[in-house]
Amino acid sequence: FSTFAGQPKWGKKNLTYRILNYTPDMAQVDVDAAIKKAFTVWSNVIPLTFTRVDRADADILISFAARVHNDFNPFDGPGGTVAHAYAPGNGIGGDAHFDEDEDWTKGSQGSNLFFVAAHEFGHSLGLFHSRHPDSLMYPVYRHFDFKTFRLHQDDINGIQYLYGNQTLL
């Protein structure tokens, strides 16, 4: 695992997130479920909680956008970059953006929102890319088995390096 330069991380245990808009590719209830499940991947192993709010001052803002979307990192259409997220911090820090030009799904076709969101939220919490090809923080998208999905030990080591483990609650 690796962290961003300077090892930015959240200084509080209870984080909030807000879903700014939805992709038309999926039912809203499925987007909500995928996002919630993606946060749970991390909250299962570190002493942080994630609460959904509708306030503008949420820590992590989640949005779907295509091409240029006001962050100097435009998306590139279908394929290529599917999403990106920012390291912990004020303002855009922690925010996760998903490329609307991808085909978002809750299944194995297209780009699975849960899997991509879980990866991006790793960035939102302070993890950088991992070289381990089986880790969640490996940068290249891969298909995975829902039934057997588990956070890789490399990801667990990385996130617990930043926040400690669940037993510290």
């Binding site: 961003f4 330069a5 990192n73 998306f75 394929g79 290529g80 970059t81 599917v82 999403a83 990106h84 997220a85 490329d99 991808e102 780009s111 991509v116 990866h119 991006e120 960035h123 950088f128 890319h129 070289r131 090809p133 940068p139 290249v140 998208y141």
Partner: protein, 81 residues
């Protein structure tokens, strides 16, 4: 139609150049890299990318490298700028 091998090579070179600019902080003057020499900046960057991704480090645009570069991925660079 037959594939023009020269055009294919140029497309591959553009692809790797863009990929390295986006994800490996490869700096260019905006012009396409037309010729590669061993130990040139782009070859060194290809090696860096191959090592990070877990490919055989050849410094060349082999099929595995090209295939990997065309897979969907996260937009956060693999190396810090």
């Amino acid at each position: 139609f037959p594939i023009d091998p020269k055009r294919k090579v140029e497309e591959d070179m553009k692809l790797i150049q863009k990929y390295l600019e986006n994800y490996y902080s490869f700096k260019t003057d905006g012009k396409p890299v037309l010729r590669w020499k061993s130990n040139s900046p782009i070859v060194n960057k290809i090696k860096e990318m191959q090592e990070f991704i877990g490919l055989e480090v050849t410094g060349k645009l082999d099929s595995n490298t090209l295939e990997m570069m065309q897979k969907p991925r996260c937009g956060v660079p693999d190396v810090a700028d």
